[in-house]
């Protein structure tokens, strides 16, 4: 329906006084993709979004939208539209006037702008409420109106600042599906800021994991989940145990490392210099109970906690110098040979489930 634009962020920084909120990040978001900026609060994801939107000045670097350098353009001249965290609907205007606001500012006459606004509300299935004020709507309805207001300018990219955080869990999942559907339907670029990995996994074509103003990894959800680039990503995405140690030797694409005062492990990865610090990730759901046939792909530890989750059981194990190791085993495997808290239990995993992680942020 409308043209989508590629967003190219070229070594952009945002500096507030002495603190650097965004530290020289570079990122290409392909046209028409759904991109999630993911990270804990204070990681610079919202600052990045606001710089793309033009609500925050860029300290260093350039932002290119399509073929235009938009670094110093005002928000309305960029071809982007922003949806705010609390939706920022005008409380004194009814839904039609809220949606028609940008057309009014552009000097479009009343009849035309109200017709267009009503069409947009129809698209969002909100036309029945056209004459209501925002305060009379539920959270999900307010979000639809905010979307309608953002989309009426026919943007090339829609920027969403934690759009689902104000909704209850049930509505969150429903509105999430609606967002994804809308993005497919419109074919424009969506950039969505969130701190929920679940939300990012469900929505994104590309997940950009950020920490302390830097990009840790920008890849497809599957890539981020299966091959986290750094220890931060592995920890933040969950579902991975991160084991840290010192390299003993590297051979045949396998790095062997040792936890000080603990066990020795192997993980797949490029060779490292012996003695260097190294982090490896082990998928929690691929850990099995039982002795390892290969050395370095397992250990024996004491069960410190058990959590029943229905189809799976979550075991927390301590041992071999690892303070907390999580194993998620199927109920079938668990009840075939049940263990209790305090028991010693051998664990092992396959070679492809243990990967060496990149160096953490310098």
């Amino acid at each position: 329906m409308s043209k989508a634009a590629e967003i190219d962020i070229a070594s952009v920084s945002k500096i507030y006084g002495k603190t650097t909120a965004v530290d020289a990040i570079s990122l290409k978001i392909p046209a028409g993709s759904y991109c999630c900026l993911l990270g804990p609060s204070g990681c610079g994801k919202t600052s990045t979004l606001r710089m793309i939107a033009g609500h925050e000045s860029v300290s260093v670097g350039d932002i290119v939208l399509g073929k235009t350098v938009v670094t110093h353009l005002p928000p309305a001249k960029r071809g982007t539209a922003m949806m705010f965290q609390s939706y920022a609907l005008f409380p004194h205007l009814d839904l039609i006037d809220n949606v028609a606001f940008s057309l009014k500012m552009a000097g479009v006459d009343k009849v035309t702008r109200r017709t267009k606004a009503l069409d947009m509300l129809k698209l969002m299935q909100m036309d029945a409420y056209a004459s209501r004020k925002p305060a009379q709507l539920s959270g999900g309805q307010q979000q639809r109106v905010a979307l309608a207001r953002a989309l009426i300018t026919d943007p090339e990219a829609l920027l969403l600042d934690e759009p689902l955080s104000a909704l209850d869990p049930f509505l969150k999942i429903r509105m999430r599906a609606e967002l994804k559907k809308l993005q497919k339907q419109l074919g424009i670029t969506f950039v969505h800021v969130t701190h929920s990995q679940e939300e990012a996994m469900a929505l994104a074509d590309i997940i950009v994991v950020m920490s302390e103003g830097r990009i840790e990894q920008a890849a497809s959800p599957r890539e981020v989940f299966e091959r986290p680039a750094t220890a931060f990503v592995a920890r933040f995405m969950g579902d991975h145990n991160v084991i840290s140690g010192k390299v003993v030797n590297s051979a045949d694409g396998l790095v062997t490392f040792e936890i000080v005062g603990g066990g020795t492990f192997s993980a797949a990865g490029k060779p490292r210099t012996p003695g260097a610090d190294v982090d490896a990730a082990v998928r929690t759901d691929h850990v099995r109970i039982g002795e390892s046939p290969i050395k370095g792909l397992g250990f024996t530890g004491i069960v410190s906690n058990l959590e029943y989750r229905g189809g799976t059981i979550k075991l927390t194990i301590e041992g071999a110098g690892i303070a907390e190791f999580t194993a998620i085993v199927t109920d079938k495997a668990f009840y075939a040979a049940p263990v209790a808290v305090g028991d010693a239990v051998p664990l092992h995993w396959d070679i492809e489930d243990a990967i060496v992680l990149g160096a953490p942020n310098p």
Partner: protein
Amino acid sequence: MNNLLSRATPYLQAAPLLLILGFFLAIPILLLLIVSFWDYDFAGMYPDFMTLNYAETLGSWVTWKTYGNTLKFAAMVWAITAFVGFWVAYFLAFHVRTATMQMVLFLVCTVPFLTSNIIRMISWIPVLGRNGLINSGLVGAGVIDQPIEWLLYSDFAVILAMVHLYTLFMVTPIFNTMMRIDKSLIEAARDGGAKDWQIIWNVILPLAKPGIAIGTIFVVTLVMADFSTVQVMSGGQSASVALMMRNQMSLLQYPAAAANAIVLLVLVLFMVAGILRIVDIRKEL
């Protein structure tokens, strides 16, 4: 017994406020209403029920002229204080970045209120007078030959002093409403392509209306009841309703002044009701 106590509790809790409002508001107004129907002569007043006081008040063209004059002051002072108040509050709320600076500048606005009304009024006299600062300055600079006569003891002086005295009553509520405007609304407007003046006209002004309404109530009621400013600054050449009442009281015509007061009270109540009709201020309270 316990049951009785628990039923009486809400009434006991409401009692202090009820007593205060009763003694200082309801009873005085009731007395005023009663006295306004009494008879009087030069020596005293006599309980009676006659509408002559009202007939005399409402039937005299002096009353109508005085009311007209007072309303004129109210309208002009309101327009100027609303304009100044809006922009001062706008500057404080949207252009001063730090909360500390906002508080400091707001306190600066209140500094004149550390002195009494009368002193602030009288201090205009050496500025505006025939041989005051402005006139002697302008004559000395050769801009004018003769001192400007209308600077002091004129409607101009009355309005100037009232604006000086009452602008803060406009600034405070407007500032208060503006501080509650979600800043993301301003960004949303800017995202929609609104220029600065469009943001002021389409977002800030409509959302500041409750504050403007509260400020309007303050300023209008203060001006309508003012007698000292009018007397001092007009040099006795201009009249206001409250001044008229004061004169009646100095002539011991209490029932006439009471009738006048009731008429003024009703008028002001109607004006406040009108303002509340136009603007919903409930969310500010």
